[in-house]
Amino acid sequence: MSQDMSEENLPDRPAHEGGSQVATAENPFADPGFPAHQPRRQDIDEKAARSSERTVAFLFTVSMLATLGFIASFVVIPIDKIVYIWPLGHISALNFALGMTLGVSLFAIGAGAVHWARTLMSDVEVADDRHAIAASPEVRAKVMAEFATGTGESQIGRRKLIRNTMLGALTLVPLSGVFLLRDLGPLPEDKLRHTLWSKGRLLINQNTNKPLRPEDVAVGSLTFAVPEGLEEEQHDYQEQLAKAALMIVRIQPNDIKDKKSRDWAHQGILAFSKICTHVGCPISLYEQQTHHVLCPCHQSTFDLSDGARVIFGPAGHALPQLHISVNGEGYLEALGDFEEPVGPAFWERG
């Protein structure tokens, strides 16, 4: 590759490369070499130096006092004491005291050390030589020769059978590790397609924990519901809730634009999955006039009066709707599970 390229275009290294070169009359741009060292006040005036010393010692003393303050605060201040400190507001007194004393005790050590280094330690600049990182050709040749000797002695080049079986063994052995990871979790199967909803399951109002009746759902309000039988005690409560959570609104049937959506509603009461189809945040904001709901995570907006289709934002498809009706006793019930998977899309969703 580099053969077709002329690498000579790179400039020569500037002349000063060999170290500081004394300025010459011919080259006004030459490196004049190190400037003479300018002594600091502390270098020539012992009084200034002593004042620096006192500053450093003062800072170290402040640190010691602050540490004592830390210990005292720890012992004295009750953990639940709240104080008002302007402009921070009402905050934990202990946290404030411990943090400030710790901060000061640390900061003062640092400030002292830096001040000491800057004012009292030598500030004469020193130069070290650099050496090329790459080895010299001799060293390179020697290492290559030694490596060749080593490979020769191992006979790996000659005994192909050993080489190939060794490579095979080394390639296969990590497979055991891969298999060990298999039991990290069960296979997905069709778990993402099913929720707790099924025919006849009542819609339980999340606020009251009572089964919902149509008259509980007012126009303009957003009600959250879960399937009957989902109990906080059960071991898979969170997993079931993550799929089954419902959002219920009531819209004048004439205002529902999507026909199927209207059919799946009960007198304008619509039940949609609460889980955003983008990456799964629960949806929480409802605009009554427009019947739009907004996902607070990335602002996907769905029009509930039109089959919950996406009208803005990064979500890729509408919120699934649950087909509901009312049972003999006048309670809202599901007529089956969601027809499509709820929540974020995935490869097998189709």
Binding site: M5, S20, R130, G280
Partner: protein, 545 residues
């Protein structure tokens, strides 16, 4: 200590205790050879060299506070009823992880402070790494022989961001659970294997009871372990390569000028550790970060309205927010491009920085060692690329906070989203050209300064009435500094025909490379620096003012 070397005035007898300990250690560890090489090792000084130190120190602070937190934190997702001293949540069911976080915050004295220090240090850590990386980028300190160290540093940045996200997820509060849900959605979007990855990650369906303990191990053991190894390698290579330095009188490619490690650098760097720690401790006393008790325990059907990740994740947040919700359905499958594309772009945008040193050296054909730093203005194309990258990063941060911007400035989210979408493509290009322009302007100014001297601000009236500003010629040190840099020329595709008249084949890669190289160093990418002849003509012609 052989007796014949102690010919000094020191009385015979035992050496001081410290010396004896050192001798003991040397006999086992060879510390004197180490000390010989390193005790007086020279480190150049410049404020921008402290950025890496801030990153180093915040990492140490993170480890110290993190170990403390592991003593109290229970990484378990079984359900408990909270009975600690934070009244608003008493009697509420929650995971043990969340309950133990509340315990640390309200019932362990100093626990809240350590939690806050840990979180603040993580924020500072990632910020410091990013800015440190920028300084290395803009000064060209990543060039040979330091490319590998750049890659180590880059991996530290990547892992640091990732580990921060994991840590954020551990308390299992409403906000962190939302972040994990986001992650599940992102994993699900991966074609073919996404659902499997998700089930393996969560040990079944989201959220399950595995994710917190698993993240805990990754967060406190796996990633920090890798990072500690990378960090040590990073530091060893800095010592081995010796630090870069700015050009100046007496400073060259062949030397390194500064202060010895012991005592000056030890005191400054060691002191600076305490400064950083002190500042972060005070921040933790004053500004609350991640008050998990205010969010409540995680429930998959609830969300806190101002769900925002830590700032360094805001960039991926921006990508995910501005992406249109593309989904392609075919043959019973779904390609979730709306989530998967951001998931791919995120590492690509970062990864561009990771491989940049190799790109640049390929394009410019420069395979030599460099120990003198470039002034950003003298490498306008590189500086432009860096600025464009930053602008991309920032515009995505804006995208990540589009709701905040919308409410703060009374704009529609729709408008902001479109602005960010268009800016994603347009802004980096604009920023590139503007930056390049500015660099060339600064080069021109340097050239004028060399040829005509520095403006003094003193106005003089000439005998015939004209006013001129007196220019003071630069000292030689300044002249040297402004003219010592190289001005490389672009690579060229050699002649199409060689000396013998035989046509040479020039591959398309070679042509592309030559073209890129012209983009880097060809016409319009640098202002010729003054030559000695030009300088002499002007100075002798005008005479000195």
């Amino acid at each position: 200590m052989s007796t014949n070397t102690s010919a000094s005035a020191k009385p015979r007898g035992k050496a001081p205790a410290g010396e004896r300990v050192a001798d003991w250690a040397d006999g086992r560890l060879g510390i004197y050879s180490l000390g010989k090489a390193n005790l007086r090792k020279i480190f150049p000084d410049h404020w921008s060299f402290m950025l890496g130190e801030i990153a180093l120190y915040s990492f140490i602070i993170i480890i110290l506070t993190g170990v403390y937190l592991t003593l109290f934190f229970h990484p378990a997702m079984n359900e408990v009823v909270y009975d600690g001293s934070y009244a608003p949540l008493q009697g509420i069911k929650m995971s043990e992880a969340y309950a133990s976080t509340l315990h640390i915050s309200f019932d362990v004295r100093g626990g809240l402070l350590v939690r806050q220090i840990h979180h603040w240090a993580a924020i500072v850590f990632v910020a410091a790494m990013l800015v440190h990386m920028m300084r290395v980028f803009f000064t060209g300190a990543f060039r040979k022989p330091r490319e590998i160290n750049w890659v180590f540093g880059f991996l530290l940045l990547f892992l640091g961001m990732f580990d921060g996200f994991m840590g954020y997820s551990l308390p299992d509060d409403l906000l962190s659970g939302t972040g994990i849900r986001f992650m599940e959605g992102a994993v699900l979007s991966v074609p073919i294997v996404g659902t499997y990855l998700s089930f393996f990650l969560f040990g079944g369906e989201f959220p399950g009871a595995e994710v917190v303990p698993r993240f805990f191990t990754i967060h406190v053991l796996l990633i920090p372990g890798i990072m500690a190894g990378l960090l040590v390698a990073h530091l060893i290579l800095i010592v081995y390569h010796k630090h870069t330095q700015w050009a100046g009188p007496g400073k060259s490619e062949k030397n390194v000028v500064g202060m010895p490690f012991f005592p000056v650098y030890t005191a400054k760097a060691g002191g600076f550790f305490f400064v950083v720690f002190g500042v972060i401790a005070a921040m933790s006393a004053l500004v609350s970060v991640n008050p998990v008790w205010a969010y409540g325990p995680y429930r998959p059907d609830q969300v806190s309205t101002d769900a925002q990740p830590d700032w360094y994740m805001g960039f991926s947040e921006g990508l995910i927010r501005i992406m249109p919700g593309w989904e392609i359905n075919f043959a019973g499958h779904t390609l979730v491009l709306g989530v998967f594309i951001p998931l791919v772009i995120f590492p690509l945008v970062l990864g561009f920085m990771g491989v940049y040193p190799f790109l640049e050296s390929w394009v410019t054909g420069d395979k030599r060692e460099h120990h003198l730093l470039d002034r950003p203005r003298n490498r306008p194309v590189r500086t432009g690329i860096g600025a464009a990258w930053i602008s991309l990063y920032l515009i995505l941060l804006v995208g990540g906070g589009n709701d905040l911007f919308a409410t703060r400035f009374h704009l529609s989210i729709n408008a902001i989203t479109w602005v960010v979408r268009i800016s994603f493509f347009v802004l980096p290009v604009l920023v590139f050209f503007i930056t390049k322009r500015i660099c060339l302007g600064l080069q021109r100014r340097d050239r004028d300064k060399v040829l005509h001297g520095r403006e003094t601000g003193i106005i003089k009236r000439l005998p015939h009435g004209e006013f001129i500003e007196i220019h003071e010629p630069l000292e030689q040190g300044a002249l040297f500094k402004l003219t010592q840099h190289e001005q490389p020329k672009p690579l060229e595709v050699g002649p199409e025909v060689d000396e013998n008249g035989v046509e040479k084949k020039v591959g398309p890669t070679a042509k592309l490379r030559a073209k890129l190289s012209r983009g880097y160093y060809g016409e319009g990418t640098q202002i010729d620096k003054p030559t000695v002849e030009e300088y002499e003509e002007i100075t002798s012609g005008h005479g000195h003012h």
